[in-house]
């Protein structure tokens, strides 16, 4: 007798437990559940419209890879252009492997794929930056340089390629963690800017996050079920950021009180929405006096970090 837990919807063998919905789902019902949520997120937040030129920021990991597959699938319904861009930070033994997966998937989907490196844009690989700043940790750790430089590289590249949107693979875990990190840092401004649009600066390409309402674990499950190849290793620098601490605690809370993560995310979204309208918080970025890129300060974060690297 098969004693496996059954799908709450159709009674077939369950492959995943969606505890925060109190549902166990079979393969077919899970795929449907997953796709419906992503499509709803895209539609509700008007992420793509006909005529858009969407650049997918493809790292080779599961999140961005699935973003690419899902958007590609949507091209049948919404007439827009799609291509992939990859930023090679220069992390030996990690990103180089991920890029192989990125190439494989763009080839499989028959999409244009453009790769640009930190070295080309900023003059240093991330490995070299870390090497030069050995003693620096926390706010000056590898992830700070990596994140700031990657966002800049993506913005420059997608602007040059005349993309109207940049799609990233940020998932529900990422977004909740970011909210919580900003919270612990007392950084309201960063949370307010998390989902800003192009009105913030003419030089800024709007970002969309189709997977922002999907838990990371389910993204992996979807990719496995569908047999989509992705890079699974962990970045050698991953342990060093505040994000890691926040992630562990968030997962503990979620495993004890299912649904906490989602509740927290929507709670923060609501707060941010109200703050934006009530306080008329409209950000307008000016240009960095050194490099001309959009910045909230006279000198942008990239130029500030470059100064640190150069010593």
């Amino acid at each position: 007798m098969d004693k496996s837990p059954k799908c709450s919807r159709c009674g077939k063998k369950a492959i995943i437990d969606i505890r925060y919905r109190e549902e166990k789902l079979c393969r077919r019902c899970f795929l449907k559940f997953f796709e419906k949520r992503v499509h709803r997120n895209i539609e509700k937040n008007k992420m793509i419209k006909p005529g858009d030129r969407v650049a997918v920021a493809l790292s080779g990991g599961k999140d961005s890879t699935l973003t690419l597959y899902i958007l590609k699938e949507m091209l049948n319904k919404v007439k827009c252009e799609l291509f992939a861009v990859t930023v090679d930070e220069g992390i030996k033994g990690y990103r180089d492997k991920a890029i192989e997966f990125a190439k494989r998937n763009t080839k499989e989907l028959d999409l244009t794929h453009i790769i640009v490196s930190f070295k080309e844009i900023f003059g240093y690989t991330l490995n070299e930056i870390v090497e030069k700043n050995k003693v620096l940790r926390g706010a000056r750790g590898p992830c700070t340089f990596c994140g700031v430089f990657r966002r800049r590289a993506l913005n420059i590249l997608s602007r040059e390629l005349k993309a109207s949107k940049v799609a990233t693979g940020h998932n529900l875990d990422d977004e909740s963690q970011t909210y919580l990190m900003n919270f612990f840092r007392g950084d309201i401004e960063s949370s307010l800017k998390m989902n800003c649009d192009e009105s913030i600066s003419e030089l800024f390409v709007k970002r969309i996050k189709p997977l922002s309402t999907t838990p990371e674990r389910e993204i992996a499950a979807y990719a496995l079920v569908k047999g989509i190849p992705f890079h699974m290793d962990e970045c050698p620098y991953a342990q060093e950021g505040m994000r890691n601490v926040v992630r562990v605690h968030m997962n503990k809370i979620e495993s004890t009180f299912a649904g906490s993560r989602e509740n927290f995310y929507y709670f923060m979204n609501e707060i941010i929405k109200h703050l934006k309208t009530k306080e008329k918080m409209k950000f307008k970025l000016s240009s960095c006096i050194l490099c001309g890129e959009p910045s909230s300060k006279e000198i942008c974060k990239v130029c500030e970090l470059l100064k640190i690297i150069r010593g």
Binding site: D17, K24, E216, E234, R243, N244, R247, N251, S255
Partner: protein, 71 residues
């Protein structure tokens, strides 16, 4: 007594055999013993995903895939 083979895929692969002095064991029991948070992993048996409530048979082999980066 139950014998369960566990393959832990966590960047690298490690294998262990667990001998449990129990009549019945679920995937969740295994995760608890290994102190693995269910939110961070997916479980496969014979290449198919299974839920944490799945009851395992003597001699079963499961794969625990760490799918949440870091932590």
């Amino acid at each position: 007594m139950l014998k369960i083979k566990v393959k832990l895929v966590d960047g690298k692969i490690s294998k262990k055999e667990m001998v449990l002095n129990k009549k019945e064991v679920t995937v969740q029991d295994i995760l608890d013993i290994l102190e693995i948070n269910r939110e961070t992993v997916l479980i496969r048996k014979k290449n198919e995903l299974i839920t944490e409530e799945e009851i395992l048979d003597n001699g079963d082999e499961i794969e625990i895939l760490r799918v949440i980066s870091g932590g």
